[in-house]
């Protein structure tokens, strides 16, 4: 296991060391100490390594991640896991706004609450939150799954495309063109898989599925005059 001190080495050096790991590296386990809310920790990784960040992180931790597993042993700042492509990010505490924005793949797990704009413009990422999420979450969500074991804030899934949202608690309000959907066996299966992967013990049958009513992004001939 490699232990590196961020306050000693500085961000660029730490990220350079992580970027230098090839797909077949033997150094698969890393610990970063003294995160102290710094920005852009472990951004742009592309190797099957596991990185544990001690303390809370600032903006964009794990941004653009591919393959790597990143554990944040604290709370995470704005834009954590932004544009994640694959791999996994696990946040022990809370996550700030626009968690996993524009993410194309991979899994983000939050053990606390996530803030506003969680999963905004998600394009395939899976996000599983044990607590609540804030307003405008999954705005323009295109693909992927957002699982919320607690409650969702205002305007969930506004202007969404084909992303799926599973909420166990209450939803303060649904955004434009987002509606309640039937929970079919295939959805129970997807949800169970995500809960298992996140390590959360919750009964999928207690969740409600939400998704796009598909009236905003499909062409309707009655609207032809508007173009």
């Amino acid at each position: 296991m490699q232990t590196i001190d961020l306050s000693e080495l500085g961000l660029r050096e730490v990220n350079k060391m992580l970027h230098a790991q090839a797909a077949d590296t033997n150094q698969t386990s890393w610990t970063i100490e003294n995160a102290k809310g710094s920005h852009a920790i472990a951004c742009g990784l592309d190797a099957p390594i596991e990185v544990t960040v001690k303390g809370s992180t600032g903006y964009y931790c794990g941004g653009m991640n591919q393959q790597a597993t990143i554990n944040i042993d604290g709370s995470a700042g704005p834009g954590t896991g932004e544009n994640i492509m694959s791999g996994k990010i696990v946040i022990e505490g809370d996550a700030s706004q626009y968690l996993g924005a524009t993410g194309h793949g991979g899994l983000i797990v939050v053990k606390g609450n996530a803030s506003s704009r969680c999963g905004i413009s998600m394009k395939g990422v899976n996000i599983v939150v044990q607590g609540n999420i804030g307003h405008m979450s999954a705005f323009m969500g295109q693909s992927g799954n957002l699982v919320v074991c607690g409650d969702a804030g205002e305007a969930l899934g506004d202007s969404c495309y084909e992303a799926r949202f599973f909420v166990r608690g209450s939803v303060k309000s649904l955004g434009a063109d987002c509606e309640k959907k039937e929970m079919r066996p295939e959805h129970i299966e997807i949800l169970q898989g995500l809960l298992d992967e996140a390590g959360f013990d919750a009964d999928p049958s207690e969740f409600t599925r939400y998704g796009s009513a598909r009236t905003l992004y499909n062409f309707d001939v009655d609207n032809a005059g508007a173009y």
Partner: protein, 329 residues
């Protein structure tokens, strides 16, 4: 930056705006034994926020209240001439003893209680360069153009003691980088405001307030926000009510932190783009634009850390338990 399609790029740009444009810190002490270290703690928090706002910096500090006296903090770009004998001149105007403590471009005048208005009215005739930074029994505001570390050193903020204080690092967007455009803004006796964000209806609101006789000095958006709160309170609103109505009347992005004689309050606009983190322990309540600002506070590892909810007014006061009230949608 990232490979995004154009729609997403445009959208995400909006949310990325919170990265820049000012840093705010605030510290409210519950543990009196920390009071001598207030300035030192606030200075460290302020300097951490330098890359959010390197243009100018300011701090409002509450402390040193004495019965029968009140304070007026004035600034001048030509302190040698402007402050020369200023205490004696003001003393004659108000008919009482006035003491003065000069700190670089600022001077703290201690006046007999109830004489602030007379002293302020006399300032332009005494020296045209004199500008009021703050007024109140315990409030002192220090602000200047420059890096936060330089501004803090200029006034030796770290040596100051007090019960609570707020600070600001500015990245200017809506008006010029000047002393008067720096935060905090004094909104009334012992009241001040700092702002992270940008108000988009400040021009129309400034015209409206000026028509109502409110004095607004600069083209700065935050000064309009501050004047708005003052105006609401002059009409009889409490600070909490004024902040709540600001959610309806101010358009734009904002996280406000307000200081009062007894404590401080926090409010974010309903969209809440501008970041805010709070931490509370038995010893203090702290505010930062980012968690980075809080990392050196004692016992932060075990503090309760959370983000204030949008459109919700929070208050901490030495006189009463903390409150939060969500504005009805």
């Amino acid at each position: 930056m990232l490979a995004l399609d154009s729609t997403t790029a445009a959208l995400v740009e909006v949310f990325f705006r919170d990265l820049n444009m000012c840093g705010i810190v605030g510290l409210f002490l519950k543990d009196k034994s920390l009071e001598p270290k207030l300035g030192e703690m606030l200075t460290s928090m302020l300097i951490t926020m330098t890359d959010r706002g390197p243009d100018s910096a300011g701090i409002a500090i509450y402390g040193g209240e004495r019965a029968g006296q009140t304070k007026l903090v004035v600034q001048s770009d030509t302190p040698d001439t402007a402050f020369d004998g200023l205490d004696t001149k003001i003393g004659k105007v108000v008919g009482g003893t006035v003491s003065m403590k000069v700190s670089s471009t600022h001077a703290v005048l201690t006046l007999p209680a109830g004489t602030t208005a007379a002293a302020r009215a006399a300032l332009p005739e005494i020296d045209a360069s004199l500008r009021v930074m703050s007024r109140g029994d315990s409030l002192e505001i220090y602000k200047e153009v420059g890096l936060p570390k330089d501004v803090a050193a200029q006034f030796d903020i770290s040596a100051m003691s007090g019960s609570h204080g707020i600070g600001h690092t500015r990245m200017a967007t809506e008006s010029a980088v000047t002393t008067m455009g720096a935060h905090p803004f004094n909104t009334g006796d012992d009241q001040c405001l700092v702002h992270n964000g940008s108000l988009s209806n400040h021009n129309s609101l400034r015209r409206k307030l000026r028509r109502d006789g409110v004095h607004i000095e600069t083209e700065n958006d935050t000064e309009v926000g501050a004047a708005y709160l003052t105006w609401q309170m002059q009409k009889g609103a409490t600070l909490g009510e004024a902040l709540t109505s600001s959610l309806d009347d101010l358009d734009g992005f904002f996280t406000f932190v307000v200081g009062t004689k007894d404590g401080f309050g926090v409010v974010r606009d309903p969209i809440a783009c501008k970041p805010a983190v709070m931490a509370e322990t038995d010893q203090y309540v702290a505010f930062g634009s980012e968690y980075r600002a809080l990392v050196d506070l004692p016992g932060i590892e075990n503090a309760r850390v959370w983000e204030p909810e949008p459109a919700t007014v929070y208050f901490w006061s030495h006189d009463s338990a903390p409150t939060s009230s969500e504005k009805a949608a």
